[in-house]
Each structure stands twice: as C-alpha cells, then as structure tokens.
Symmetry: D2
Subunit: 138 residues, 4 copies
C-alpha cells in the first residue's frame, strides 16, 4: 500500500509504517495532537510484540508499564492521506526505560521527535522492570 | 503480519485486514464500543480511496458525506492482539447510500454486523451524491 | 455556564447537560460520529452513578454490562461551542436492558435519537442483570 | 456535583473542574496517557472562551494555534470516579506562547505537570499571535 518511503531507519531499533486515518484529524484538518501519543503507544506495543512480549500478557501477570514523562517536539503536522514511519529506540535509565520515538512522513519530513520515559509497576509498586528488559534484550 | 485469516469475504465489495491497537481497549479489556465506528469509517474511506476518491478531496470540493443512520449488532468483542477483517458492500438507497459493514475476527467469528446510511451534503445542502456514486461505480 | 436550555426533559428518567469539546470535532468541523457513542456511554454511567451504582464497582464485582445492539438516527450535527442535553430512559427487555437515549442541542433541536440495548455479563456469562435492575429501581 | 475540592488554584490564571469519563480509561483501569492532552487542550480552549475568543472563531479568521512542544510529567494516574482540577497559566515566549498546565485530583494529589508551547499560524504561516495575546490580556 505504501510504495515510496524515503526514511532511513537504520539508527533505530524498530520502525513501522502507518497511515493517517481520517477520524484522527481535527477541525484544523491535521492529526489532533493527542493522537500522536496513540501512535507512540502503539509503536511501543508492536516493538514489544516483535520481541514476544505483549502488554496484555504483562498486565495479566501484574506488570504494568506506565508513562512517567513525555517530551514531544511537533515539527510538521500529518494530514489526510499521509503515510508515515514510526521509529523507536529504547534504553534503561536507572529503574526506568527511555524510548526515543521519532515519526517521519513518508517523504522523510520529520513529524515529531519524542522522548518517552516509562516506569514499570509490579502489582501496583514501582519495580526495576527486569521482565520487560530481558524480553527486549536490554 | 496477519498469517491465518479464515474469513470468506467473497460476498462483499471490499475487505481489509486490521488489528486491535491497545489504546482502543477500555477498562473491561475489550475494544470500546465507540471505536467500532472508527473502524467502520476508516473502512469506508479506504474503500473510496481504492476507487480513486478521498474524503479529504471531496471535502475540499464542498462535498461532505455524513452519517444519517447507524445500526450495529455487537456479537463478539475484540480484545488485545486480535486481528480482524472489515468487510463492506454499498448500494444507493433513494438519495442516500447504504453500507453493509461486517467485521469478523481472524478466526471467522462475527464481531459486529452494521448497516450505515450516509447522506451527501453539497455545500451544506442535501444532494443525490452523484460524484460519490460515479466514483465507486454505482 | 449553560444559561439558556430550551429542552423539555420531562418524558425521560434522566437528563444531563454537556458541551462539545473541540477535540471531538473532525475535519468537517462537526462532532465525529463515534463521539456520540462516548456521550451516550457517559450518560448511562452518570445515570447509574446517580442511583448509587458505578460501572467501575460493577466491574470489580464481575458484572459487566456490554452493548448488544445500537441504533442511532443522526439529525443535526453538533459543532464547536454547542451545548446540549443528553436524555435517557431505560427499561428491561427480556434478559437485556433497553436505553432510549436522545440528545438535543440547547435550542431544542434534536441531534440524535438512539436506542441502545445492553446485556449484562456476570463473570463472562450472560446474566439477567438483577443487580443493575434493582439499583436503578426497575 | 463535585463537593469537596482541596486544590489551591490561586497561583494560576485559570482553573476548571472536570471528571473522568469511563471511556477515557484503558485496559489498565487508568486514564489513557493520550487523554491528558485532550484535557489540556480543552482547558486552553475554555480559558480563551472565558476571554471572549474561541478557537473555532480564530480558525474561521485564518488563525490556527498549533502545538510546538509538549512536556508532561505523569505523577498519579486518574481512575474511574475521580474528579480533578485543571489549572493553567500562560505567558508569551518570543513568538510563541507557553502554557503551564497542571492537573490535581480533587484531594490535592498532583496528577500531571505540563508545559505546552504553542505557535500561532496565520493563513498557514508562523505569526506572532497578537490577536490571541490581546484577547487574553498578555
């Protein structure tokens, strides 16, 4: 479906292609700012799934990664018909995980640059998140 | 990505594969009822795009399809990790369009059965929607 | 905040005032069709809360009301700055509950007319929903 | 409805009470991280409305404030039945606007601390946003 992606994703640990869905647009005709957090969450979940661990399964085992801090720079808004590449890298940062998550439009234009910090709750208490770290090879 | 779909889509005019995204789940662990309307809208838009007409382009030309009536039967809720097939057929119904839109889980289980009636506004007034009809070959 | 509501709600069991939030609008400048299901769900939950029973508490006790059928007639779209009244009546219908849910713009103009059928799951199995029925006095 | 708010909002320019709606919860039973951006956007729009200027009206006049940068610290997640106070202060920052936006649960517990930077587009080009500045008295 997406035929001509001009994004170099080699510096990231994971990348996936997505397309804007029209219900994500707001009255300005651009993707509403909150939906980028949906894109970013979905990308983290797909990254983990690729490593054989799902958030649903973690949740059933009492392990809940939750957002601790979010920093997003908005560069170019996505519009109807846009396809894009959502890129991710991840590292441990003390007891937390830091995700570098950048989104590029298919033509290579940067859309957002984000740093997402995630803490792992185990049965409601802050944990070191070793289950998650091992699953993704950190 | 989706390897094993057991859905016969031959009776429909269009079908597309989708996957549940975890942010679409609610506190019951199932896809929130409102998100099915998102799936259905996205499917209608993709169907039109396949026929070379986008809702964004129609909007720029003063043509706005809007929902007039929705009837949905909920059969089996979608959950995390589920993939599904969103199927669509469409016919004219007087001055309106009727979409038959059914969603099946990848294993063939019916998820929802929906009938969506759409009216076409042209510069804010009800029209017969000939532009849309011609584009999709009705 | 809402100063001049011209809606007669006397035929309903419950009514609440709400206002459009701009993030609920889509690229057409009207409230996206899926958001009405959010309004309707929120109204059902507030109706139950008024009767001393919350969906969160029901969920903790293994009782999950889920949508079985939805029928919505869209009359007049809501726009930015609109305030509206969400009205609800409810009755038992065999093992299920039927909610009549109508939304009116503050000036009295009908926005949607909906009939929502809800089934009650108890520990994942269909139940008669007596807990819910007693709580709301049916 | 909200009877017992223990939040001192005197250091902010604006504050409004809101309540969690259950459809905003995700599978973890907490408000999904993206919905806080909805709360923050709605609060900015209500703040402006209080000053007699709406985003819909600005949009009609070709003026579109858009997010440039977001920084959010997540402290305590909101859950079903929670009510909260969304507080806002705003200042000019070169050609942009900086909003300090903090959310507190009704019992005073901090929920998020956010700094939102907004740029003003005028007919698609970056402007100094004087219309917005004058309206809110900056």
């Amino acid at each position: 479906m997406i035929t001509d992606i001009k994004v170099d994703t080699s510096q990231y640990m994971f990348a996936m292609e997505m397309a804007v869905r029209d219900y994500e647009l707001d009255y300005q005709g651009i993707v509403n700012n909150a939906n980028y957090l949906h894109y970013l969450e979905h990308t983290r979940h797909e990254f983990c799934r690729q490593h054989g661990i799902t958030f649903a399964e973690m949740h059933r085992r009492g392990l809940d990664p939750v957002l601790s801090h979010v920093e997003i720079s908005y560069r170019t808004p996505l519009r109807s018909d846009d396809t894009f590449v959502s890129c991710l890298s991840m590292r441990r940062r003390g007891p937390k995980f830091e995700f570098i998550q950048d989104i590029y439009r298919a033509d290579g234009e940067p859309v957002i640059k984000a740093t997402i910090t995630v803490a792992c709750l185990e049965n409601g208490r802050l944990s070191r998140g070793d289950t998650l770290a091992e699953a993704v090879g950190l």
